[in-house]
Amino acid sequence: MAPKNLKRIINQIDDLPTLPRTVLKITELVNNPKSSAREISSVITDDQVLTARLLKLVNSSFYGFPQKISTITGAIVLLGFDAIRNLLLTTSVFDMFSSRSRENRMIQESFWDHSLGCAIGAKVIGTYLRYEKVEELFVSGLLHDIGKIVEMLFLPDDFAEVRNVVKIRNILIITAEEEVMGFTHPDVGRLLAEKWNLPLKLVNILEHHHQPEQAGRFIQETSIIHLADILCRAIDLGSGGDRKIPSLNSEAWASLKLKPNVIEPILHEMEREFQDISWVVTGK
């Protein structure tokens, strides 16, 4: 992206949302190697809504722990600091971007469904690859298109024009963004992720999920999100904002070292899991 366009985004989105104080505090604690589970637990339990939501998530079928987890400290010990930070981040992001406009709410819901589908796809692909931190992939999938939500809420006129161009010419939304605004949702996503001090891996995934070959040492994770995005578009889990599907990047596919016959079981698993967990994350 040209520097002048970067400047334009910053000028136009001068009020990018900030993360809730609790999540910022937890991010800070997680980044500090001297922090203890008890310290993190005491910050979370100060917020009753976060506490309830976290316990609901760790007791959901997504994690599949055999016994019920009834304390935040227990959840932290079982899942680890990073996983807890990611869970809190995910649930907070859903709240922060809730829209009052009825039309926006409908578009947003289909975007969230798409993001959830991508998150599930990323988790399923990660499981096939025996990727160690599948929950990290899940969060990356959920946030991969956050730039579109920011555009919709903070650049409503430009975004309406983008949607109009997509509708008339039946092209990918990323192509229309480039034409109308000179920047794209991955650019906006990267800015937001940097503002929130998210891990470098997540910043790279958000920025390069349409060009995973540019993600450097994060090519595998970015390729997983790239493939998951394509798969959930193929089976209509939510909407990415257009009626087209991006091409599968050959370098991305090669980096995953998967065989074509895994596509079928992966898609079947995505379909099954989508029905299972959508209520846990979105509350629908």
Partner: protein, 118 residues
């Protein structure tokens, strides 16, 4: 549940009935999902036909006219959506599986809707 020619069996389909050899040896139990390997084994034992459940939503014979129309609609939509990504064997595979899944999802919805009608 449908009886299909083994030649039409595809990986991912679900067996609806046990498969026995001519010597009455049990080869596969119901609810087993077919793989390239077990299709090959059945062929090598001289099996010609198998019973398939609709769990995988594919290879089902005896479609109604409505089901044919639905499938044609899904295929048209998918072809339009995938138009700029083809020909690519991987995208073709994604398209094929997506078509089967969407058909299964819509038929399920249709049945549910039909069952709710007075």
């Amino acid at each position: 549940m449908n009886l299909i020619d083994l030649e039409k069996a595809k990986p991912g389909m679900m067996l609806a009935k046990s498969v026995y050899t001519l010597q009455e040896v049990l080869l596969l139990k119901p609810d087993v999902r077919l793989t390239e390997k077990n299709i090959h084994i059945m062929k090598s034992w001289g099996i010609h036909e198998i019973w398939i459940g609709d769990a995988a939503g594919e290879g089902v014979v005896g479609h109604t006219e409505m089901e044919h129309e639905l499938r044609a609609f899904i295929d048209d939509e998918l072809r339009a959506k995938f138009s700029e990504t083809l020909p690519d064997p991987l995208m073709e595979e994604i398209l094929r599986v997506a078509g089967n899944l969407l058909e299964k999802r819509l038929l399920k919805k249709e049945k549910k809707h039909g069952a709710q009608k007075p």
